[in-house]
């Protein structure tokens, strides 16, 4: 009798054997040598759901769109060519500058990229990712998978009119006239591009890092840049906020469909427009843990007032072992003050020059 009880107790302990709370990032240490490849089991949280937790990055060389009607899949040699070209470029830009080089021509040397021309960013700071995206073993020429053309669908006439209205509202204003006219990232309101989104897309610039923490009723997504937190509420019978409550990154509700977390987001902040879509934007995301180092992230964009059809794509999120750091953008935002005051100084100089010429 005691033996049976002991046996049950042992089994119970094993069943309850979720990784202890004190464990660090999920251990990949128990990967067996390649000769005896241990099959990977989907790790699960205490409530039996796939474990999406950890630090992840969606940095990649693969752009959002591809050339019209070209294949989604890239042949291996093309992948190697692109990755090699990227590595060569980086190493070229990382070479020491010639200390005897002349001053650049006025207005810059015409080179492109963030580090080019007058040099906003030295290439040292740029870190877009160095690999082509791989989904289900296939190398991708674009993150976008729907529509088959590989291009974001056309916008609706209504969307074009909204865009025209936005432009008209700024008529007569210079791009440096007011802080509200600067991009969201320059104002430290959000990251570049659509890092936080949703959809959560790489910015091809730097810092595409995320941290996921998961509980039975929430998936917390921390977007390192700019320390933005999305809280996806998970459960049944959850409702979105009232229509007039609009949040940066919208309001997200998730539920599990089998081993995939499906998240629906609406109620986007009016200033956060994704390619023109904001008020009626609905984003569906699907998170599936596909391996020890990967999550497959699928997104779908649905806004009939902006796009003539739904569209979407697939983005691999890869584990990163690096720490996530504090991104105190606003606290160090000398740039915005300098951008605006620089223009004010220039205007003053020109005005003074004109005045002295008249005298």
């Amino acid at each position: 009798m005691t033996r049976i009880i002991l046996g049950i107790a042992v089994a119970a302990c094993a069943a309850l054997g979720a990784p202890p709370l004190l464990a660090g990032p999920e251990a990949t240490a128990d990967q067996a040598p390649a000769s005896i490849a241990k099959p990977w089991t989907l790790p699960r949280t205490a409530d039996g759901k796939p474990d999406l937790q950890g630090s992840w990055t969606n940095a990649t060389l693969t752009p959002l769109e591809r050339a019209e009607n070209t294949p989604l899949s890239l042949p291996k040699d093309e992948v190697e060519r692109r990755e090699q070209a990227f590595r060569e470029r980086v190493s070229r830009l990382a070479e020491d500058s010639d200390p005897d080089r002349p001053a650049p021509p006025k207005g810059g040397d015409g080179s492109t990229g963030a580090a080019g021309n007058v040099g906003g960013y030295n290439n040292f700071w740029i870190d877009p990712g160095d690999r082509i995206a791989v989904v289900n073993g296939e190398y991708r020429s674009s993150l976008l998978t729907v529509p088959a053309s590989g291009r974001v669908p056309a916008t609706t006439p209504e969307a074009r009119q909204r865009a025209a209205q936005r432009l008209a509202a700024r008529k007569g204003m210079g791009q440096y006239d007011h802080p509200e006219l600067r991009p969201l990232a320059e104002r430290c309101l959000m990251s570049f591009g659509s890092n936080a989104g949703p959809p959560m897309l790489p910015n091809y610039f730097y810092n595409n890092n995320y941290q996921f923490v998961q509980t039975p009723d929430a998936l917390m997504i921390l977007v390192e840049m700019v320390h933005d937190v999305r809280v996806v509420r998970i459960g049944e019978n959850l409702h979105h906020s009232p229509a007039h409550i609009r949040s940066w990154m919208g309001d997200s509700i998730g539920r599990w469909e089998g081993d995939t977390l499906v998240v629906e987001t609406t109620n986007f902040h009016p200033l956060q427009n994704f390619r023109g879509a904001s008020e009626h934007l609905k984003v569906i995301e699907r998170f599936t843990r596909t391996g020890p180092e990967t999550i497959l992230y699928k997104f779908e964009i649905d806004d009939p007032t902006t796009f003539v059809e739904k569209w979407g794509g697939e983005v691999p999120f890869n584990r990163t072992e690096d720490l996530i750091y504090e991104y105190a953008c606003h606290e160090g935002n000398y740039a915005l003050a300098n951008v605006l005051s620089g223009e004010r100084n220039r205007e003053k100089r020109e005005a003074d020059k004109k005045k002295s010429q008249q005298n």
Binding site: A18, P19, P20, L21, L22, A23, G24, P25, E26, T45, A46, D51, Q53, G54, M173, G174, Y176, D177, H178, P179, E180, R187, C188, L189, Q211, V213, Q214, T215, D217, A218, M220, L222, H227, D228, V229, V231, R233, S247, W248, L271, L323, I324, Y325, E326, A328, H330, E331, L336, A337, L340, S341, R344, E347
Partner: protein
């Protein structure tokens, strides 16, 4: 006669024993209840701190005990000090509520120079309080801002997302080594001490304040927090503050954290960076608004 004496002795001993049991079981005044209440939710055998929490005190106005005052920024008046010009229009909305303070022992043990700097900070509150510019609040101020925060505790991680300014702290469960860089929110490492979650944080720079009354620190600051659940909906929170750059000894603040229990309680969003653009950049507009 003998049996009566024996009965009496037995009764006395029994009473003594009962008294002993009773008095040891009684909580000592001032200490928190041990977290053994049956109704505490648990996760992996430890108290489950998941949820939306908020403090209910005046710590963010002034950590030390204080009477209510007319405003955070004052200037001399003909009879008594009056609110500074910049805040007059706020009227009672800008007034400071009174509070009994959260500092154990009453006063923050500053060195004389550091106490002077605190008073200077307070006298120049409008220019110096980082909260005004929507800067990250630091630790432990983030805990007692008048906004909720949400704890995410899982089998492998512990994170706190604060509504105020979207501040965020990842609490490392495995020490990553010394902080690589000084930050507003520091670097936090957490561990369990019985049923108390203990978080050690350092790697701060000196730019954040502890409250709206000018209480400050240096980059030597170390904060040790203890989160102890005393019931389903309450956490007893303590933060020990050490900073030999300004204090003569470590000191402690304590306060309850209350769970937000309304149906559908959730973290709101207060991305205030946008709200302070006129304050920070208004002078650089093409035409500053008069």
């Amino acid at each position: 006669m003998h049996s009566k004496l024996r009965d009496a002795v037995v009764a006395l001993v029994g009473a003594g024993a009962m008294a002993a049991v009773f008095y040891t079981a009684m909580p000592v005044l001032g200490q928190q209840k041990p977290a053994t209440a049956a109704n505490i939710p648990r996760l992996n055998g430890k108290p489950d701190l998941n949820g939306v929490w908020q403090t209910l005190n005046t710590a963010n106005w002034d950590l030390e005990a204080h009477s209510a005052r007319p405003a955070l920024a004052m200037r001399p008046g003909p009879i008594v000090p009056v609110p500074a010009k910049e805040v007059i229009a706020l009227g009672a909305v800008g007034s400071v509520p009174g509070g009994m303070g959260v500092v154990e022992g009453g006063e923050i043990p500053y060195t004389p120079e550091a106490r002077k700097k605190k008073e200077e900070n307070q006298a120049n509150w409008l220019e110096r309080d980082p909260e005004i510019k929507c800067y990250l609040p630091g630790v432990p101020r983030a805990t007692y801002m008048p906004f909720p925060f949400q704890i995410f505790q899982s089998n492998s991680a512990f994170a706190i997302a604060y509504e105020y300014a979207g501040a965020y702290r990842n609490i490392y469960l495995k020490d990553p080594g010394p902080p690589q860089v000084d930050t507003w929110m520091g670097q936090s490492v957490g561990r369990w001490d019985g049923d108390t979650f203990v978080v050690d944080t350092n790697g701060f720079h000196d730019q954040s304040w502890f409250d709206r009354s000018g209480n400050h620190h240096t980059e030597q600051l170390k904060v040790t927090e203890r989160y102890t659940m005393t019931g389903r909906d309450h956490i007893q929170y303590e933060a020990t503050i050490e900073d030999p750059g300004v204090f003569t000894r470590p000191w402690k603040m304590t306060m309850p954290l209350y769970r937000r229990v309304e149906t559908g309680a959730r973290l709101g969003q207060f991305k205030c960076v946008e709200f302070v653009e006129e304050l920070l950049y208004g002078q650089y507009r093409k035409e500053p608004i008069p």
